[in-house]
């Protein structure tokens, strides 16, 4: 438990260290055994995953459901214990770190969750939820805690009265902003965003994405952005990894991946994105029906 007050990270400091990765993941593996009707089955939810996240960058992890992206995110924080591999944060391996040291390192890597409706304790007020984040990591006087909470509420766009509100009095987008506030209030360097906008309306998504961008520019944060939505990932990520069946099939700078996908699965994913204009859809459909006949209709 750190007794000193949290300090602000400056973007300049982040840039100075930009040659060293903030996070180095090597060979991360997690297996699950299921005992189904067809006997024991071992699934590699995360299979030998390796990637780096540089300071101040957004690394996108994209894939469909079941590909292991969420499990990867959780394994980094040891919410799920990995079976093997290393996760080096600023040079120190999180996987083998003793619990005590992990606690203070945890402060620097925070997480924003997907479901705005269950990510906040329905029985506690927003102020209490945010103060608790501070209480877990710091020893601050009550008035200092409260001041920091009010500051962070302001930063994510809430007035003082929201200190007293309950989650159920707020919309999904507002709750997600509180989720981000909760991650920010302990001054992290890396935030793992697990599908942070997938459960939100489109018009609210853009608000949250812009806010994440602004916060990154202001505070020099790094993000691991996990999502299944390719358009969103493309917009916010500097580099991307595509996952399928627990493995990373392709990774690289965002522009490269989208303009010149190498792996067949990446191409398949990009082709599946719905058209942005009906005329594009029509020409694609016409081309597809020309090459494959429409399913013949059987007489009933």
């Amino acid at each position: 438990m750190s007794t000193s007050a949290p300090t602000e990270t400056s973007p300049e400091a982040a840039v100075q260290e930009s040659s060293q990765p903030l996070l180095e993941v090597r060979g991360l593996t997690k297996r699950f055994t299921s005992h189904g009707s067809s006997g024991k089955k071992i699934t590699r939810a995360v299979d030998d995953v390796s990637f780096d996240i540089m300071p101040g960058e957004t690394f996108g992890l994209v894939g469909e459901s079941g590909c292991g992206k969420s499990t990867t995110g959780r394994s980094l924080l040891r919410l799920i214990e990995p079976d093997s591999g290393t996760v080096r944060y600023e040079g120190r391996d999180l996987v083998t770190m003793p619990r005590r040291e992990l606690h203070s390192t945890r402060r620097q890597i925070q997480m924003v969750f997907q479901d705005p409706f269950s990510s906040l304790n329905p029985r506690r007020r927003i102020g209490a939820i945010l103060e608790e984040a501070l209480q877990i990591q710091f020893h601050l006087r009550m008035s200092d805690r409260r001041e920091r909470v009010l500051k962070i509420l302001d930063k994510v766009g809430f007035s003082e009265e929201y200190y007293y509100r309950f989650p159920h009095e707020m919309s999904g987008g507002q709750r997600q902003r509180i989720g981000v506030a909760r991650a920010l209030i302990v001054d992290p360097k890396l935030i793992i965003c697990d599908e942070p906008v997938s459960a939100l309306d489109v018009s609210i998504q853009s608000q949250i994405l812009n806010m994440l961008d602004d916060l990154q520019a202001e505070l020099g944060l790094s993000y691991l952005f996990i999502s299944h939505d390719l358009s969103v990932v493309r917009h916010i990520s500097d580099r991307i990894a595509v996952m399928k069946d627990g493995q990373i099939v392709e990774q690289g700078p965002t522009d490269a991946i989208f303009s010149n996908p190498q792996h067949a699965y990446t191409q398949q994913l990009l082709n599946a994105i719905p058209a942005s204009h009906p005329s594009i859809a029509r020409s694609r459909y016409a081309a597809a029906s020309a090459s494959a006949p429409i399913i013949p209709q059987r007489k009933a």
């Binding site: 924080l77 919410l79 992990l102 606690h103 945890r106 402060r107 925070q110 997480m111 969750f113 997907q114 479901d115 269950s118 990510s119 906040l120 304790n121 329905p122 029985r123 506690r124 939820i129 608790e132 984040a133 877990i136 990591q137 008035s143 409260r146 001041e147 009010l150 003082e160 009265e161 200190y163 007293y164 509100r165 009095e169 989720g179 909760r182 302990v186």
Partner: protein, 296 residues
């Protein structure tokens, strides 16, 4: 030194709205109102009754044994000439104290056990086996056995009933806690590095309070019945202390000749338990998620 604006100034309209909505909902729930009123009446009588009755519950008057209800003895007299009304009122004090104490103790113990079982899987296996073992015995038999081991005293009735009923509360808390444990906010707390104590006590407990409270009201009712049964069998509140079960015991052989010794305590037990059950049922409706969809 910064000053902080209090809640009432910042969101007065919302808190007032919520309060009036909550009160309206309570007032509209007939079960809670009926049960609550019955319970209130019984508590009032238990507190004031001793001042209303002409004689105490212990004063024997062998000349006036087994008198039927009259203006001087509202419920008649028992086989020792004691005023039955005083004894029933005094017995209600016992029943209420026993019931309430058992409810509190089982809630506290059941909460702790249920939370730990839900949170730690290895503890869960051991604890649930033990609790299943206890629940395999019919409540009354188990209570009698414990009373036999501890000695027949009113305090031991509370201990025995607490042991008997805690498993049921623990079960309820455990199933509710298992659901809460899967919620994202609990995962978030683990990611933040929260201690197990903070997660269990500060965060999970408020979310399992509703089913716990409902279960506690039913335990209250069950305790009253079981205590009466124990006392009826001679394994509960020892004479001459009055208890509803005790009085039934005294009137056992006189059901037809001195019906008031059976009917009055019996009616009071029934009324008390009915009131508490109404309250519990009503609470369950009030506390359940109220957002039902409008689909058929």
């Amino acid at each position: 030194m910064p000053t902080f604006t209090p809640r009432s100034a910042l969101i007065p309209s919302i808190t007032a709205d919520q309060r009036s909505l909550r009160l309206k909902r309570i007032r509209n729930n007939r079960q809670v109102m009926t049960g609550g009123i019955i319970l209130l009446v019984i508590i009032l009588v238990a507190l004031i009754g001793p001042f209303l009755s002409p004689s105490g519950p212990y004063e024997t008057d062998t000349a006036n044994r087994l008198l039927p209800p009259s203006p001087t003895n509202w419920m008649g007299t028992d086989n020792f000439g004691r005023d039955l009304f005083s004894r029933v009122v005094s017995g209600s004090q016992v029943s209420l104290v026993v019931g309430f104490s058992v409810a509190i103790i089982t809630s506290a113990l059941g909460l702790a056990i249920g939370l730990i079982a839900a949170y730690y899987r290895t503890a869960d296996r051991i604890l649930m086996r033990i609790l299943d073992g206890f629940m395999a015995f019919p409540a009354i038999l188990l209570a009698i056995a414990i009373m036999a081991a501890l000695g027949v005293q009113t305090e031991n009735v509370i201990v025995a009933l607490s042991i008997v009923f805690t498993p049921y509360v623990a079960r309820v808390v455990r199933s509710s806690a298992l659901v809460v444990k899967e919620q994202t906010y609990i995962e978030s707390l683990r990611a933040q590095g929260a201690s197990a104590l903070r997660i269990l006590w500060i965060n999970m407990t408020p979310n399992v309070l509703s089913p716990l409270l409902i279960q506690a009201t039913f335990i209250f009712a069950d305790s009253i019945i079981t205590e009466a049964a124990l006392s009826f069998l001679g394994a509960g509140v020892p004479p001459p202390d009055p208890s509803w079960g005790n009085i039934l015991f005294d009137g056992k052989t006189l059901i037809f000749s001195a019906w008031w010794m059976t009917v009055f305590p019996g009616l009071t037990i029934m009324l008390a338990v009915l009131g508490i059950n109404f309250l519990g049922d009503g609470l369950r409706d009030l506390l359940d998620p109220r957002h039902r969809g409008t689909r058929k």
